[in-house]
């Protein structure tokens, strides 16, 4: 057995970034351990040949397409189980996300397979894959090996980079899917309903967080403008939420949310451990604080000792200019 099977989620004619990351990763790993870089897609008529074949640009070699309801996990479990068994595939890879977890878990039970969740890195060793996952609030990394096949790997949201390896069109194969009885018991009534302005900061890739150093509630305007220029969201520390400067939904830390965005820009935040544990896994941490002794300067990637009131507005303008 060899090869990697990933799942690509689509909506209104496009695959989501998380899935494309998984497909890219699957392609990369398939090259290392040999076998197909296959993808499963499940849906209706909007899964055109062109759309499916386009996954080839991310390195997919074969796309198995099945007709079935969209946005539900159990039909995909049926599809992937069939493909894994028919094609003799060694690993199933998911890019996290709600469905990634549900499908991966269902597959684990269906095939009596091993599963690792919240994976941040996968490496090939001697023709097999080893999954790395952080534990204990990212203070340690566990290397996990699989006993028997297949192995199921569920990545942390957006853990895998989208790489357009420039491959040609993938081969599209239709799968004759027989759904299990229980896979027909859920019915999608309404999909993808947008609700108000709640930005889910846990999914945001770029966060601008404000702390007590902002001085007053109005200081958050500076954060919002910068977040707007970056295309990201705004987060807050417990102290300012307590003071009523920003809503609790944006709170990061021990008693708030835990995030791991690509960029965490902390303005006026001291970096006490109660806050740190909520954001320390961020890929790039930039800190702006006028106190050179603030603990945040010990663990940020770029620290600026200065007055955020002077820096933030200019930074916002400069970023808008650079983006053009």
């Amino acid at each position: 057995m060899s090869g990697i099977l990933t799942y690509a989620l689509h909506y209104e004619g496009a695959f989501n970034k998380n899935s494309l990351g998984a497909v890219s990763e699957g392609a990369k790993l398939a090259k290392e351990i040999g076998g197909e870089a296959a993808v499963v897609v499940v849906g209706g008529d909007d899964l055109t040949d062109d759309l499916c074949a386009s996954l080839g640009s991310y390195g997919a070699t074969k796309v198995f397409r099945a007709k079935g309801p969209e946005g539900l996990a159990q039909p995909v479990v049926d599809a992937m189980a069939k493909v894994i068994q028919d094609e003799g595939i060694s690993y199933a890879l998911f890019g996290g996300g709600l469905l990634g977890f549900e499908i991966g878990a269902g597959l684990t039970a269906r095939l009596n397979a091993g599963v690792t969740m919240e994976v941040t890195n996968v490496r090939a060793e001697g023709g097999k894959l080893v999954a790395e996952r952080p534990i204990l609030q990212d203070s340690a990394i566990v290397d996990v090996d699989y006993v028997g096949e297949p192995g199921i790997i569920i990545g942390r949201l957006n853990a895998f980079d989208v790489v357009e390896s420039g491959g040609g069109a993938a081969q599209v194969v239709d799968v004759d899917l027989q759904l299990e009885d229980h896979s027909t018991k859920a019915e999608m009534i309404q999909r993808g309903e947008q609700r108000g302005a709640d930005v889910n900061i846990e999914d945001a890739e770029l966060l601008v967080a404000g702390g007590r150093g902002l001085g007053k509630a109005e200081g958050f305007e500076l954060c919002e403008e910068l977040a707007g220029a970056l295309g990201g969201a705004v987060a807050a520390t417990r102290a300012v939420v307590d003071a009523g400067w920003y809503p609790y939904a944006a709170q990061i830390g021990q008693t708030g949310k835990t995030v791991a965005p690509k960029l965490y820009l902390a303005a006026g935040i001291s970096g006490a451990i109660q806050h740190k544990v909520g954001m320390q896994a961020s890929e790039n941490i930039v800190a702006i604080n006028k106190d050179a002794n603030a603990p945040i300067f010990e663990f940020c990637d770029l620290g600026i000792v200065g007055d955020l009131n002077a820096i933030l507005p200019k930074l916002t303008e400069a970023i808008k200019a650079r983006k053009g």
Binding site: A239, V241, Q254, T255, A272, I273, Q274, N293, P295, E298
Partner: protein
């Protein structure tokens, strides 16, 4: 409001916290039978004193099923506000073994260590003076510090063990439950009321609000520890403090370290460094360094702590930072360097001794342990008194209720304490702390005099209320080292490792005047080991300032009550989760 009293000195007592003790914490009538819970003996506080009382009671009841039945469906219940018994307990500690051996006669000291609450018998010991930040002088061990044969223990771990014993013997242990009111009817204590859950920051009921319940009991044991939320109101209600000195407190901050090289001796240091010797500063403090061998993990640990009398007058005195300062002494560096901090905590202890002990019983209730002020703060010994008083309270209550299940007179307990080793020891050291208020050099010899004469000098030395001492902004804070996160630690990261995760919208349990002279605000800011009190950056340098209260950091040490604020009952389940302190 007048701020300075002329020379920049202000007493916190001039700004009392907004609290009406009797009005808020005493309930004057029991709820109807179908709304309340009926219990035999209600023990408020699941520390060593309370649990020793519970264990002893159940031992007696096990042999007397008739009396057990008279106590109803729930003969013994322990009400504990932490998530588990031991979660809010902290002490040095070196314990005299006899009391615990009496409580559990079938256990050996090796059994204690296997259970994880004891860490070794004291063999070698040393007492040092630290005249400067670099020098130390070993002195012949003064009598109060003779610990040979005693056992190093953890009260947090001991309480967990005792909780298990009590549960196995049939006690109901109600953790995450605060007792917020003393129920007094017809001049008798009829029980306590448990705290509400699900209130918001300003006390408003939230969606999942659950009111507390009246717990009616034939006998109530107040085992609340150093600052009793109900003990204070009880003392006032029944005039238990009549004719006694006011209670005074000390604050201890402790760390536990995992070390590479096991410490070979028990160490106490009596200063003067890092405190000031000037009487004006009023700093009286010392330290301990105890070796701990953890039999469960095989680790070599060290318990290190700094204790200071809250009598001091320099507002910038911070027990936490003085502990960090102390760690820089070569004596300590030799022991801790290369090690790893694995625990931290803070707790106040009653320092007034015999003269400040309240009357220990009232109709329907008794006081045990630290709540009754039974701590010898020169020798730093209180654990065996907690156990002893718990045992004696159990025996007195048992005898009373056995004869008459409706008895409310437990004065026999007071007599038992007087005649016990606890009573005698407290009497012997009754004047040994007060002289320190005269400063290290004058006070020291006086203390020695009182110790040497074993309390035979017939005099009563007074205390005065600690919050009445005028504060000034001195220089103590100038010596505090900067935190580096590896050897010297700041307050917030210390609070973090206590396991404190109080919910953000928990009701504010700290009562304090929020607009006070700077000297008073600075006192609170520096004193609090958890960084609860802050002064806004833009506050004026002199005059009155605002006080920000980050009450969710609170580790419930109790110190604020001694110096002008009031710690009231938090929501059950909040606060730290001490493991081995």
């Amino acid at each position: 409001m007048a701020s300075a009293n002329g020379n920049g000195k202000v007493a916190p007592a001039a700004f009392p916290p907004p609290v009406d003790s009797q009005g808020e914490f005493v309930k004057r009538n029991l709820d109807a039978e179908d709304e309340r819970i009926e219990i035999g003996v209600a023990i408020v506080g699941g520390g060593t004193a309370g649990l020793s009382c519970a264990n002893r009671l159940l031992q007696l009841l096990a042999d007397d099923p008739e009396t057990m039945e008279k106590l109803g469906e729930v003969p013994v219940a322990v009400i504990e506000k932490a998530k588990t018994c031991g979660g809010h307990n902290l002490s040095g500690a070196v314990m005299r073994p006899e009391a615990l051996q009496r409580l559990y006669p079938d256990m050996t000291r090796e059994d204690w260590r296997k259970e994880g609450f004891a860490f070794g018998e004291v063999e070698k010991e040393a007492v040092y003076m630290t005249p400067t930040s670099k020098r130390s002088l070993k002195i012949p061990t003064p009598p109060p510090f003779k610990n040979h044969g005693n056992e190093v223990i953890s009260v947090a771990a001991l309480a967990r063990f005792q909780q298990r014993m009590a549960e196995e013997a049939g006690a109901y242990i109600l953790t995450e439950t605060a007792a917020t009111q003393l129920i007094v009817e017809d001049g008798k204590v009829k029980g306590v009321r448990s705290g509400d859950k699900g209130r918001g920051k300003d006390g408003e009921p939230l969606g999942n609000f659950e009111p507390g319940t009246d717990i009616s009991a034939k006998a109530t044991v107040l085992a609340e520890g150093c600052w009793g939320h109900l003990t204070g109101p009880a003392i006032r209600e029944f005039d238990l403090g009549d004719g006694r000195e006011p209670q005074t407190w000390e604050l201890g901050v402790k760390e536990i370290w995992k070390v590479a090289k096991p410490l070979d001796r028990l160490i106490h240091t009596i200063g003067p460094w890092p405190v000031s010797t000037s009487a004006k500063y009023g700093q009286v403090g010392g330290t301990w360094i105890y070796p701990m061998k953890d039999e469960k993990t095989g680790d070599d640990l060290v318990s290190i702590g700094f204790v200071i009398d809250l009598e001091y007058a320099d507002a910038t005195t911070s027990a936490h930072d003085l502990l960090q300062t102390f760690k820089l002494h070569p004596l300590v560096k030799k022991i801790l360097e290369g090690g790893e901090r694995v625990g931290w905590g803070a707790k106040a202890l009653p320092g007034g001794g015999y003269w400040s002990m309240p009357k220990l019983s009232m109709p329907g209730a008794v006081l045990v342990g630290d709540a009754g002020g039974m701590v010898d703060t020169v020798a730093l010994k209180g654990v065996h008194h907690s156990i002893n008083s718990g045992i004696l309270a159990a025996e007195a209550i048992y005898e009373s209720l056995k004869n008459d299940p409706n008895a409310t007179d437990f004065t026999a307990y007071e007599k038992a304490i007087e005649e016990s080793s606890t009573g005698k020891e407290m009497w012997e050291v009754r004047n040994t702390r007060q002289p320190f208020s005269k400063g290290f050099f004058i006070g020291g010899p006086l203390v020695n005099l009182f110790i040497a004469t074993k309390g035979k000098i017939p005099v009563r030395l007074p205390w005065h209320r600690q919050d009445e001492r005028p504060m000034f902004i001195g220089k103590t804070s100038q010596k505090y080292p900067k935190p580096d996160g590896k050897y010297i630690f700041d307050k917030l990261s210390s609070v973090f490792i206590t396991g404190n995760a109080t919910r953000d919208d928990a009701p504010n349990h700290i009562r304090i005047e929020k607009h006070v002279p700077r000297e008073v605000a600075e006192t609170w800011k520096w004193m609090c080991p958890a960084g609860v009190y802050e002064i806004p950056d833009d506050a004026p340098e002199t005059g009155d300032v605002d006080v920000i209260v980050n009450y969710t950091n609170c580790v419930q040490c109790g110190a604020i009550t001694a110096k002008g604020g009031r710690l009231t009952t938090p929501e059950g389940g909040d606060g730290p989760l001490y493991q081995q302190t």
